[in-house]
Symmetry: C2
Subunit: 328 residues, 2 copies
């Protein structure tokens, strides 16, 4: 088969050039140092044919938390800001909310109370607010909000608050045959409309919290509508479960930034063969935010101790990144 | 950037040769006729640049039912055969089962009763039987069974009962930039160990029924263990919901074979733009099985009426396939 031979040859050429091209300057927004070194060494070791810890391409599964790992999460998870707007807009239809603590905290912009109660009570309000909405209408709501809402500190669209070094890392991994996934406590619907452009991660590679939906025929047309039930919470011990359900392979590379990612990192570490576990440590109060053990949002305490004890890679944002956001 | 230019050129060469190569002889096990014609025309129309119904590569999502669509499902769903063996093996630990109708039907090989009660009661028994088992141990159990069990009629390993024409169709779609998914009423764990080899579909592209799992640390190691709860049933109206949760895009191509696939086909049809809906009609009692409206397994009734009314493609196995299984 002459065609097959030419095809194989051309593929080999592409692979070679592509490899050279990707290696030209990996991770330019990362300063030289132990974090970048650890990443590049790991990727080199698992992708070099003949390496004692070579990993076949199909097993190169990399998972990333979203809030605080791929984009910012202060002063409040961005999805909470969206929810606030949604819940406010539908409040007139729900007079019974006036005594609900989560609703009162939302209206009062009481971020301390909101952070203390965690995302669940607010997600319940939102689930009720949008119950009965079709998934298509909900998707438009998110797209509209993402297009217009602005971050309170940086006065930029939220999607500009993605971390350039992490975008580079995602592209670098994919360039080396990894398949990249988001595994977030946020809801799948909230991330899907913008994650492909922001991170190069398509909707089907986004694992997250799942709200109930049900199938019906409305006016002769098949639709999915939202129910008020939360079906699955993809946070903490839910993250390895979410990975198992949606991906079905144990990742060999995982990145998080908070105790909500601890179990995902532990489960990644528990696999056989080479493993990379990383944490983004928010140490940069100038360019971004500085927080860890005492933070109400993105608390990093037990996972940090474990990372230090087990030699996982801890990225010091201030020291390791020469750029945080593209606009800076 | 000279490297980038060469890379682009080489990629173009590969794309051209690859396209020519794939088109040499598509779907050889399909007889010339309306079904094959409809498939090839659809794929041509959505992949040809400049075509009025061209679809971008990222939106070429194709979903396939498994039982009765990609492999056989008679005389009993193969997963039920596996479950029977599993439940039997753990019966000594569950004396309370002796009065359970599903257990009695299993022991008596009462396929009529089993089919009548559907998979749920048996799945409950299985969930209890394997509750507490780690996901890794469960995976080994499935691999062992798949390697040794044999189909009662054909006396072959079950994995030899995959349909060659559907394997060709999956490869043909992927060769044309489609991403192929399984969306099955069977459980994700049961399909993952062998679907990649049988169909070229990796674990992360398998959507199915989900049993509960929970994260724990056992002997200092992170593990997932099975719980007795069924978290999600990916059948009938659950299929579009499963697609929404796991894929997040409305498919443009869907194939099923029974009323359990009807809603998946309806939801695929409800999207905007070009759509292909197909049904495998089991008409070949010689080479496989002949069944439809009256069958206890894989009943095809309402979906067949709808397909005929709406002009969906109905594959007549006897007429449209010149080969069913590879061993024939």
């Amino acid at each position: 088969m002459r065609q097959a031979m030419i095809l194989r040859w051309a593929l080999a050429v592409v692979a070679t050039i592509s490899a050279a091209y990707n290696w030209a300057q990996p991770l330019p927004s990362w300063n030289e140092g132990p974090a970048k070194q650890a990443i590049v060494k790991f990727v080199n070791d698992v992708t070099t044919q003949g390496s004692p810890i070579f990993v076949a391409s199909e097993d190169r599964i990399a998972v990333f938390d979203n809030d605080g790992t791929l984009w910012a999460e202060q002063p409040l998870y961005f999805q909470l800001a969206f929810m606030l707007d949604q819940v406010k807009a539908s409040a007139p239809k729900h007079p019974e909310w006036k005594d609900d603590p989560a609703f009162k905290a939302l209206l009062a912009h009481d971020q301390k109370a909101l952070a203390a109660m965690g995302p669940k009570p607010v997600m319940k309000l939102l689930a009720i607010a949008n119950s009965g909405m079709t998934t298509a209408a909900y998707d438009r709501t998110i797209r509209d909000w993402i297009a217009t809402a602005r971050h309170p500190k940086f006065d930029r669209p939220y999607t500009e608050l993605v971390y350039v070094p992490m975008q580079e890392l995602l592209a670098y991994l994919r360039g080396n045959g990894f398949k990249t996934f988001i595994v977030s406590g946020g809801s799948i619907e909230f991330m899907r409309p913008w994650a492909e452009r922001a991170y190069g991660i398509p909707p089907e590679q986004i694992v997250g919290t799942i709200t109930g939906t049900k199938f019906s025929i409305i006016d002769g047309k098949a639709v999915l509508t939202r129910t008020p039930k939360i079906d699955f919470i993809d946070d903490g011990p839910g993250k390895p479960v979410g990975i198992y359900r949606a991906i079905g392979r144990q990742p060999i590379f995982a990145f998080g930034n908070s105790d909500g990612d601890w179990q995902m990192l532990q489960w990644t570490a528990a696999g056989t063969g080479p493993r990379f576990m990383g944490l983004v440590h928010h140490t940069d109060g100038q360019r971004e935010y500085a927080y860890d053990r005492q933070s109400r949002i993105g608390k990093l305490d037990k996972a940090l101790d474990d990372a230090n004890a087990r030699g996982w890679t801890v990225v010091d944002m201030k020291r390791d990144w020469n750029k945080v956001f593209a606009f800076q």
